[in-house]
Amino acid sequence: MAVLSWKHHTLIQSLLERGPLTEKEFHSIFTAITGQNPGTHQGKFNDYLLKINRELSYVQLDLRACRDPYDGRVYYGVVNNVSDEQSKFGTKYSVPQIAFFKAIVEAIAQDATAEGCICNMDVLNIRLENQVLNSSRSQSQDGSLGIPAAFRNFTMSQKERTLDQLVKDKWLCYTEDDNIGVGVRSVLDLRGWFNNAGVPSCEVCNEAGLKAKLCPNEGCTVRIHQYCLKKIFSQKGVIVCPSCETQWEYQPPKAEPVELEDEETEPTQSQSSLRMKRKRQRVSQNDDSNTVGGSSQVDTKRVTRSSAHLR
């Protein structure tokens, strides 16, 4: 008596093989295989997810959703809940690469201005030795300070390559202004870590407020995500700080580029041709973007960067 059918399996496998998917993509898969749109059949969709998660809990995995901090889009992914001996195998990254990643995420998390990103130059200047001082379990053969050679010799080009790979795998992302931000995978996976690291949560949704608006009252520590502000504003027409009652200035975000959405979610059959095309587009556009400035370039960057891969 099987609890899950091939439809549930398709949803799970699509996330496992392809990585985190946008809500739109995930919903379209659901619609295609069940014939029902999650928008209109919310109950059925939730029921599916509930059933899936009940089974996944057997192996301490979880199918969950999160919001991309930079554009507010919802993503779905399968996440590991427990860090144990087996999950330590679940990565192709080496120890220094992971330390590098950790340093970047820490720097982003500690950003007091809640911009949720750090600039490229700072990333490349990160020194891994600091990571060793923080972790208590570094036992190296050198004895004394316990800084492994691999950390000391982590070159600039290794950093660049690691950075590229991390963005490709969606642990990090490039933000609009060419800074480095947290990627969707980090938001899905590291929720617990952000809370432990003391990142203040958004007052509205209670998720980590990595990239959020701060209360204009300097003494107040409240932060709220841009997309959460949008929701309140549309409901109440005004934003008042829940803690200190200062009124917030609210500017509606830049108009969402609707054309881009359609481009990104082509029917899956033409996935391969579309991505090959975009890869070629991207290679030529990178060359252009170095020489040509201006706002038009920003938009094309968004097209090529948000879902295409670097290589």
Binding site: W6, I12, Q13, R18, I33, Y58, V59, E85, S87, T268
Partner: protein
């Protein structure tokens, strides 16, 4: 909730312990598969997870079977067993005499129908490797299951894949891509000593020899050849 498959009371462990072991094995399989990009996992490694803490001799087999069931019911993955055997490659004996220990290994394969997999699950960023795998296996199969390295590269060159190319726009380091097929056990390497020194041969290995795979490859090759009205002579 689920009725435990089989009677595990003989093993003197509680249901919770049994579930924990099965979960560990499944997680190991999933994470390892990701880490080594689909290279088969040795049965020994899975058994060790069990024997690390429990000494009952047939417990590992039971746990692995349970893991197989759960992988299928939760994820829709089949835990396929590959029999690793190294048949003698000398010309004298044609018997597939297994020299050495058979090592069983496992890969996970989606049980979804092909159209569903292709439409919703397949990661298009890895399709190039799948295509490459198919082409190489087909070449080796058409050569009778075994082909000299030089000969293989001769055919690959006709598609623009050169042994020395490290920057192919799709495959990157072409030689490494071929090496990946060896690690994933689609091919195995063999050095045959002949009158002119040792020649390197590529042979089909367990993953390519496995029933369904082998049959499908033959079908696809037939389809392609039938469609091709102009065939070139491969000298």
């Amino acid at each position: 909730m689920a009725i435990p498959g089989g009677d595990f009371s003989q093993f003197d462990i509680s249901k919770e312990e049994k579930d924990k072991l099965v979960a560990e094995v499944i997680r190991y399989i999933l994470f390892k598969t990701h880490q080594n990009s689909g290279c088969p996992i040795k049965r020994e490694e899975l058994s060790q997870l069990v024997t690390k803490n429990y000494r009952h001799r047939s417990l590992p087999a039971y746990i692995i079977n349970q893991a197989k069931e759960k992988l299928s019911s939760i994820f829709g993955y089949e835990l396929r067993e590959l029999q690793r055997s190294r048949p003698s490659s000398t010309n004298q004996t044609r018997l597939s005499q297994q020299s050495g220990v058979d090592a069983k290994s496992y890969v996970i394969i989606s049980q979804l129908p092909a159209e569903v997999y292709k439409k919703y699950v397949e990661d298009v960023n890895t399709s190039h490797m799948t295509g490459f795998t198919f082409v190489v296996i087909s070449i080796v199969q058409l050569a009778g299951g075994k082909i000299a390295s030089d000969n293989l590269w001769h055919h690959l060159k006709r598609m623009g894949l050169h042994e020395t190319n490290e920057n192919h726009p799709v495959l990157g380091n072409v030689k490494q891509a071929l090496e990946m097929l060896v690690q994933q056990r689609y091919l195995q390497k063999d050095k045959v000593s002949g009158p002119e020194g040792a020649t390197l041969f590529y042979e089909l290995a367990e993953r390519a020899l496995e029933g369904t795979v082998s049959e499908r490859i033959k079908q696809y090759i037939t389809q392609i050849v039938k469609k091709d009205s102009t065939t070139e002579d491969i000298s």
